[in-house]
């Protein structure tokens, strides 16, 4: 069952970002309150470190303010635009740390698609659709795609975790992505 806030209206977000481009701080505060939990959740899953995720989130919203003027020409949907800023920043941070992250073993219980009833933003139907398409992949490969996208695993980390050579992992993932696209476009 969806809560009242479960679906953030895309048109509202669109308007807010347009107003932020005009340096409207009220709109900025509103956008933050609507989207910060979602983006913080995303950053935390990738960074796995609360203080670092908090710092990252601040940087993400600074970028949102500074780049709002480019949003219109990006032709992205508003939530996708925000998610991309958050994910790109978090992944840059973990990649630039260089070393594979500690705690990968404990992360074993990676998000099998225990459906989250209050999923925000991605409409339920879109979420169900991508879950269904991931479900068409071999279970292990679907887990690899999720571990990469949601947890920010690198090829190296994935190869270690799944016990396959790095190139094999890359082939797996690329094939999985092609199949995923084929399924989503069906």
């Amino acid at each position: 069952m969806a809560t009242a806030e479960a679906d953030i209206d895309e048109k509202d977000l669109d308007r807010l970002i347009a107003r932020i481009a005009l340096r409207d701080r009220v709109a900025f505060a509103r956008l933050y309150s609507l989207t910060c939990a979602k983006l913080f959740g995303i950053s935390l899953r990738i960074l796995r470190d609360r203080p670092e995720a908090e710092e990252a989130l601040q940087e993400v919203y600074v970028r949102v303010w500074l780049r709002a003027g480019q949003y219109a020409s990006s032709r992205a949907r508003p939530m996708t635009w925000l998610i991309s800023i958050a994910r790109n920043h978090a992944i840059d941070l973990v990649r630039s740390r260089g070393l594979p992250r500690a705690g990968l073993d404990e992360a074993e219980a990676i998000a099998d698609p225990a459906p989250d009833p209050e999923a925000q933003v991605a409409s339920q139907s879109e979420r169900r659709r991508i879950d269904a398409c991931l479900g068409e992949l071999e279970a292990e490969r679907a887990r690899a795609v999720r571990a990469a996208y949601v947890e920010g695993y690198s090829y190296e980390e994935l190869a270690t975790r799944f016990g396959v050579p790095l190139n094999t992992m890359r082939t797996w993932l690329r094939r999985s992505l092609l199949r995923l696209r084929e399924c989503l476009e069906r």
Binding site: R23, E54, A76, D116, I130, V150, R175
Partner: protein, 238 residues
């Protein structure tokens, strides 16, 4: 590249690199190369966008987590360093302004306005605009400062005032030459502090003109300027 890729065309390869960039698995160096291509290659950038849209629903697997409440203050203070309260002083000292010729006034505002505005909004996130309003054969002179971040237009009369049974009305004149009323100015040499509505604020930029007309009490009855222009000036960025 593994030899058994199903799609070996360059386009296919590009699309896969775009997908890998979005998924985030690329090593740092390849990630940097992909990012450079996004900036320079629109086709590649479009592929990245498509993958972003395609995969975004997967973020549903990351539980939303409310960040600590103090975080927003940190964002605000890094974007909008604390503003000292509006400063009395030169800006409010009418005698000081009257003593200056309007020609030197603009140069002064450009210098001082930069200082004043950047103390209030120390980073150039918002571009203050300034106009000196006057007209030949008219003793009406005003200065206007527009703060984009606050959508606030401050208009300070320097000399000249409407007759007792008349009002001065302020107009925004955009590139299409259409005048849009910004309201009637207060009498008695008082400074007008006008909140510009968002739709109009979007059109404020260097190159637009502000004009003052002489109108019946309460302003033009028709919404279109009826009286003569007693002062006008172009808004320029400082």
């Amino acid at each position: 590249m593994p030899p058994d890729m199903t799609d070996r065309s360059d386009e296919g390869e590009d699309d896969l690199v775009a997908a890998e960039f979005v998924v985030g698995t690329l090593p740092l160096e390849e990630r940097g190369r992909a990012r450079a291509r996004i900036a320079t290659d629109p086709t590649f950038a479009a592929r990245v966008r498509e993958w972003e849209e395609r995969l975004a629903p997967m973020t549903g697997a990351a539980e939303p987590v409310p960040p600590p409440a103090h975080l927003y203050a940190g964002i605000e203070s890094s974007l909008f360093p604390a503003a000292p309260a509006a400063r009395p002083g030169l800006w409010t000292n009418i005698g000081f302004w009257r003593g200056m010729a309007l020609t030197s006034l603009l140069a002064f505002i450009i210098a001082a306005g930069t200082l004043i505005f950047y103390q209030v909004v120390p980073r150039p996130l918002s571009q203050p605009l300034v106009a000196a309003l006057d007209a030949k054969g008219s003793d009406v002179k005003l200065v206007a400062l527009y703060n984009e971040a606050k959508r606030q237009l401050v208009v300070r009369p320097l000399s000249g005032s409407p007759a007792a049974d008349r009002d001065f009305e302020l107009w925004f004149i955009g590139p299409d030459k259409k005048a849009i009323s910004l309201g009637v100015l207060p009498k008695g040499g008082k400074t007008a502090d006008i909140a510009v509505r968002p739709a109009l604020a979007a059109r404020f930029a260097g190159g637009t003109t502000l004009a003052i007309t002489d109108e019946p009490l309460g302003g033009s009855p028709t919404g279109v300027a009826t009286g003569p222009i007693v002062a006008a000036g172009e808004l320029k960025s400082i």
